[in-house]
Symmetry: C2
Subunit: 455 residues, 2 copies
């Protein structure tokens, strides 16, 4: 494979954005064969599934593949695995791919290229991150290393630095495996993507399942002492562990895009327009490496989420084969299951809305997920934020039991927010009802009505 074989579409990266771009391009142009260059041997793996592989709930890593290699090839993609793209020449329109086995590099010409190089774990300023037994979790190789450790007999006690959703899912997963787990978070609350009122309940849930939680504690050093790891922090406590996983967020991987001439913006992510163009001729980018257009704010943010990567990849793939498409934007919609609890949010939190110049009013209610006279009802908490001036929906957070249709209730309001509805219009939505599943006014309508009454 060399420069002579110029490809109409080259895609760098085999995760959500890259795969989506390739599939969409092929769907629109069945005569083209996109070439997908993947740095490892695991194209289209669900990175979001890693906590469940580590917990043992997903017994084999291969189950994490959204599609097998054969599926992808059958869908019309050509795969070049275990090749890392190390250089791009936007004038000659070539990429240089180095095989991970050390054999000679290949240079591949492209008409258009979609970069989906993703994000990598942030390395916080902690001494001793290089010590054996200290891991970050993002790639499959990193996941295998953690898997080997947590399934070994020597690991009994795991300390997780960071209480974001990866850290907490991992805490859940490793408790599932029977390990002792503690989580140390620098901020004053766990899961800072939701308000502190919800964070307190999440902390309770973690503790009731045996997870030790420390918030407002900054780790300074992870030392190797007497064969175990000792985690030193600013609360003066030295925490001992057999394994430390650092999960303190991610940062975009932009070297290649920058080398091509792309600019970076919010949080160092690559600046793209809503067609996922970098501004460099023939170079598109999508996923965790780029800025995220926010549907409500109407400006670029950085919200690396798998759903967004899929959407942006799809848009990039279309434009890269000449079919106009535009990314509609993100609301930061996300959900997480932690033990028996589901937490979901979409749109802006109260403080985010305030910082953006809205005049937010937030109301919280507790509602039955279904009529209490039918067995199994449980409470859902809903926090609705809307603009006090015009009642426009700005955001919602929900918290309830797994099985209580919490996440899709969040989605009902995500649609309403994305389409610019007011709280009053939520009462007009014709939603389904049957006593085992809802109330005549679904909780999402109840919180809208409470917002109107309560302010």
């Amino acid at each position: 494979m060399n420069i002579d074989t110029t490809r109409p579409l080259v895609i760098v990266g085999g995760s959500d954005a890259g795969i989506s771009a390739g599939l969409r391009a092929r769907e629109l142009r069945p005569d083209l064969t996109p070439l997908l260059i993947v740095a490892d041997a695991y194209p289209n793996y669900s990175i979001c599934g890693l906590p469940f592989f580590l917990s043992g709930e997903t017994p084999r890593a291969s189950m994490l593949a959204h599609r097998t290699r054969e599926d992808l090839e059958a869908a019309g993609l050509e795969l070049l695995l275990e090749h890392e793209v190390t250089a791009i020449d936007p004038v000659a329109k070539t990429v240089r791919a180095e095989p991970t086995d050390g054999s000679p590099a290949v240079v591949i010409g492209y008409e258009n290229v979609v970069l989906g190089t993703g994000a990598e774990p942030q390395r916080p300023p902690i001494r001793g991150l290089e010590n054996e037994g200290v891991h970050v979790l993002h790639s499959m190789a990193q996941a295998f290393a953690v898997h080997d450790a947590v399934t070994s007999s020597y690991v009994q006690r795991v300390l997780i630095v960071g209480a974001g959703y990866i850290g907490l899912e991992l805490a859940d997963g490793l408790r599932h495996r029977g390990l002792e787990v503690s989580v140390v978070e620098r901020l004053g609350q766990v899961f800072p993507t939701v308000d502190e009122e919800f964070a307190a309940t999440i902390e309770d849930e973690l503790r009731s399942h045996g997870v030790e939680v420390a918030t407002g504690v900054t780790v300074s050093e992870i030392a190797c002492e007497g064969g175990r790891l000792v985690v030193h922090a600013d609360d003066g406590v030295a925490r001992v562990a057999d394994l430390v996983v650092v999960a303190t967020g991610v940062r975009p991987v932009t070297d290649l895009a920058v080398a091509a001439g792309a600019r970076t913006g919010v949080r160092g992510a690559v600046v793209v327009d809503r067609a996922m163009r970098t501004g460099v001729e023939g170079v598109f980018a999508a996923g965790d490496m780029v800025e995220t257009w926010h549907a409500l704010l109407g400006k670029a943010t950085y919200l690396p989420l798998g759903t967004t990567s899929h959407k942006q990849g799809r848009v990039a793939g279309a434009n890269a084969v000449g079919v106009a498409a535009e990314f509609a934007g993100s609301l930061g919609s996300q959900s997480v299951k932690l033990f028996d609890l589901v937490v979901a949010r979409t749109g802006l939190r109260h403080d985010e809305a305030e910082a953006e110049g809205f005049a937010p009013v937030t109301v919280e209610i507790e509602a039955d997920d279904h009529k209490a006279y039918y067995p199994g009802a449980s409470k859902i908490r809903l926090r609705l934020t809307a603009d006090g001036a015009d009642g426009r929906l700005l955001g919602v957070q929900l918290l309830g039991r797994y099985g209580a249709e919490v996440s899709k209730r969040c989605d009902v309001l995500a649609v309403a927010i994305q389409l610019g509805l007011t709280v009053d219009q939520v009462s007009d939505l014709d939603l389904t009802y049957t006593p085992p599943l809802s109330s005549p006014w679904d909780p999402v309508a109840q919180v809208a009505q409470a917002w109107r009454r309560g302010r």
Copy 2:
């Protein structure tokens, strides 16, 4: 109580529409005390909950009350229970209420009246409906009669005429109680609110839980022979039962509205505008007795549903105290749980869309409710109907396991349909994802993408 005490707002009927009207009126005008006249002693009872009372899952009938009498009074409503309104004088602006205990009638003046007289079970042309042991199910009194029968020792075998949602929920409920249950339906499929493809699966679910099902069979006579009921039908089979429940749909109760001068339209329901005015000065009507404005068709239909009654009642209550409000319309959104299955629909079925002049195209897919690598995934079937001309969403039907967030997924698309979205716009919706609860493309986005590919 007599004509001297003219009330600003009188409400006739204590079910969904009437209660909603009263609560909303009071919310907007805390200085007014709406008078609610209720024919029986059970205001604000959940009629939708009757199958669960009869199954034993809701052990006491009193649990079916959305609010107690005390709740309602605390909310500012005055209640006149066990009084049937038998006459209305729209010129004098009075209603005549007859106590059910036979004591003298009272005449009450009103400035505005909201009628919420509901619907009553249709009595199909079957001989012997008057026989002992033959029941219809709608009011609390009727429910108590059926409850007495199914909890007695002499009832072992129940035959249900009609396989609509009440008939099927009742079949489920009585199997739960351990009775032998058979269902006889005149049409060629059960649950005609969804397509036959789904009906076949529902029939399988019923049979696998021991319900005998006969479709395309018209009952002609229910005879009393030797102390048991014998149900004769046009398939020549004489079915024996200890109890027969007739659940063949409802018809609007309109006598009072018609007496006041209101017109009737679709299916004999009272014609109202979107402010729930009957056209008779000072007379509003809402709920199962009135026509239903269809949000997608932009015309009146008849879709008696509890959710709609709540919305219409709320609108009527507002307008009756001088606050302008308009019913946004129904999409016929509904869901039902039958044994382990949940079925939900919103908008138009394919055949309904065709009959209304659309050029519908319907696509069905099967999707995992969540990533299959996380335990407990199950398949959801989704049938999406959209206009072949412009891709505008027209309707969706979903079928899956209880717990698979089927009903709220229907609601996500209900919002999309109500707001006039196209199938392509569904892919742009920013919905939540976590492997235990969804996929990066939620099943609702998957079916939209399949529709686009498949046609």
